[in-house]
Symmetry: C2
Subunit: 210 residues, 2 copies
């Protein structure tokens, strides 16, 4: 980490270690040690450990969420323009595709997406609050659009199916490369295309189930 700025060194190392071991199990001394910078540099550049985490989320999630939101609205607008019902698979793709494509765009973003997947299920408030602040509007939009695409579903049924969907997606996002329970002889590929083509049929069928 010699060429990049100190600030960027910290960001890169932090998001990697946060994703690998979680926010709370990653001390500032580990981050600054691996980044090769001084311990005080974090508080100088970011103010606090929490602010460092917020900066990481801000950096990746603002542009990514804009894309996901635009994609979702594009699906809805197109359906209204053509006066055709929305396809659940299109809605899911609008949400999932940018996420996993972004994940595959570099080794750094891969760590970040794993971090996002973890944040949803964090037991501690610090991480979850930051995460929810960024994702709540998008979650509501997804719910509204799915409600429009599946008007025959009871609100409660849609709610639980969306919860299942969120659980499945976040679980896939968490898998950074270390398979926890892999049956013998199976070495599943993890590239974005594979995951997208596996996720969407599963979730579409689940959401559209009778």
């Amino acid at each position: 980490m010699a060429e990049k700025s100190t600030r960027q060194c910290i960001l890169d190392t932090a998001e990697k270690l946060f994703a690998l071991h979680g926010y709370h199990h990653t001390s500032l001394r580990k981050i600054t040690g691996e980044a090769g910078v001084n311990l005080a540099a974090v508080n100088y550049h970011f103010g606090s450990k929490k602010a460092l985490l917020e900066a990481i989320f801000e950096y990746h999630l603002v542009p990514l969420n804009r894309i996901r939101q635009e994609n979702l609205k594009a699906v809805r607008d197109r359906s209204r323009r053509l006066n055709q019902p929305m396809e659940v698979a299109d809605i899911l793709r609008a949400f999932i595709e940018p996420t996993l494509r972004y994940r595959d765009s570099s080794s750094k973003t891969r760590y970040f997406i794993a971090l996002v997947g973890q944040s949803m299920t964090e037991t501690d408030d610090t991480v979850r609050r930051i995460f929810l602040r960024h994702l709540r509007p998008l979650g509501f939009l997804l719910y509204e659009i799915l409600k429009e695409a599946l008007p025959h579903l009871e609100p409660e049924t849609l709610y639980w199916r969306l919860q299942c969907t969120v659980g499945a997606i976040s679980h896939i996002m968490r898998l950074t490369g270390d398979m926890h329970i892999t049956p013998e002889g199976i070495h599943p590929s993890q590239d974005a295309e594979t995951l997208i083509e596996q996720l969407i049929p599963f979730l579409t069928a689940g959401l559209e189930a009778p």
Copy 2:
């Protein structure tokens, strides 16, 4: 916590706090404070904080896993005896039903099931290792039985669909009562019957998707 033994007081309070705030964000002082026992009691009765967690898992998961395993094998045996293909919904029910029924059997078990749901996604090794030691055999059995029920699926496809299933189930198990993202006006009921009847159609359709 006056009538119960000190050991049981610690167990009850610990599994509640572990489920609410996570293993690492729950200090022994918080546990013993809320349980109304002395700090040293944990190390006296269990040896260490880690051993306390192991005792909690042992206490609940050994009997619960035996039931789930018996149910799974019963579905397979019945299919072989009648020479009929297995129904995916029956397999899922054999796994999910005991879990959520156990969850609803008391306020204590509800906390424990939430704790199990968290453990799968814990960033720290301590918790995940203990969890996996108990669940790995059951996971393999579930995979083998699903492979038998869905012989036309590519092994990789089955693997990813099982991952989605695990993600969805664990996410539902994590919800103890505080809904993170609840759309306005929706107050979904969380009793075992509702959850079972919501989960199984969703997951069956996903696993059987074309």
